[in-house]
Symmetry: C2
Subunit: 212 residues, 2 copies
């Protein structure tokens, strides 16, 4: 354990911070607690990170990346869009409902970030990541089901993230996973109504450039 390169040590500490914060909340993620979780002494943390904020920022970055990389690129083709959407929501909800502590931590990070200037960029980066992820998923779904969306995907992505956020929060509060999933699938049905068969062009969305 001793004499570990700094980069590796930082990873280990970020991992420990994630473990503590997911389990006991962001307030519990003190420098001391993280050091104890990682099995190192207090000084080591301050050697690897300038201060607590830098540690928290690193942790936030890690959780954001982790959420983004959820590779759902194995979406089946040739199915009706309602089915594809339903399946994607099912997989997504399994990922969410299986990581309660992480989800709660995400909201804690968001609110903390909005209060403390030194964590200012955490929340916006978190959401930018979610918006672009949602947008990519929508595009992949559209391609897989051979449809295009009647609403700009960028705008639609915001709606998707908002709805998921809302139902996740409700589930965190009342623990009713069935109601949350039912609500999400209801939204999925609505979402499917916003899709129309793709245009004659084999890939893109623009049917006919009007002018200029």
């Amino acid at each position: 354990m001793s004499r570990m390169p700094v980069a590796e040590r930082r990873e280990q500490l970020v991992e420990a911070a994630l473990a503590v914060a997911s389990r006991d909340g962001i307030e519990a993620a003190t420098v001391r607690a993280v050091a104890a979780e990682a099995g190192v002494s207090l000084g080591v943390v301050h050697y690897c990170f300038q201060d607590k904020d830098e540690l928290l920022r690193a942790m936030a970055h890690a959780i954001t990346e982790r959420n983004a990389v959820q590779g759902l690129e194995l979406i089946p083709s040739g199915l009706p869009v309602e089915t594809v959407v339903e399946q994607v929501i099912g997989v997504l909800w399994a990922a969410i409902s299986g990581t309660r502590g992480s989800q709660l931590l995400s909201y804690e990070l968001t609110t903390s970030s909005l209060r403390h200037p030194e964590l200012n960029k955490v929340a916006i980066e978190q959401y930018r990541g979610q918006w672009t992820t949602a947008q990519r998923v929508l595009e992949v779904v559209g391609h897989a089901a051979d449809v295009s969306w009647t609403v700009p995907v960028e705008e639609l992505a915001r709606v998707v993230v908002a709805v998921i956020d809302g139902f996740s929060l409700a589930w965190l509060v009342d623990g009713n996973a069935e109601a949350a999933l039912r609500g999400l699938q209801g939204f999925g049905s609505y979402l499917a109504t916003l899709a129309v068969p793709a245009g004659t062009s084999d890939d893109d969305v623009l049917p006919a450039p009007a002018d200029a």
Copy 2:
């Protein structure tokens, strides 16, 4: 200021706590800060409240009540349901976007409550209040526009709260009020499609009891 009855003093302190927490965040709402905000000394707070948690619970209760009592009972009658929904959303959004600190505090209270056993009931009471409020608004809207909902209002209320939560959070993060309102109105349009002209009976929803 001196020699104030305890009940009144408690109100004053809860008010001060709300002011501090809305402005600077729930973490900043320490006993000291609240005492300072109220212009009393540290001991006074501990004389009126057993401990910090009781003060926070009182504050949470106050903010929940405040959100619930937003008397929107002046909903116009005789208009199409799309219009009524649009107007209600407009009023609601004005109330939300005008109280940024309070909104953020609500989310902080929710997450805090979910982490700390001693605040256990705060979050669920918060949401129960929001769900029943949403349900009442849906019922009033249905009555005013002379429609009934094709989805159980209880279920629909959960959806409404989730969507509002989601868009509010996004707005807190990116400050884009136009996008949030646009998203909410988009949801409102969808909501209106879930309404059908009220049955022949002048008030209730049940058209024909099938059996028993």
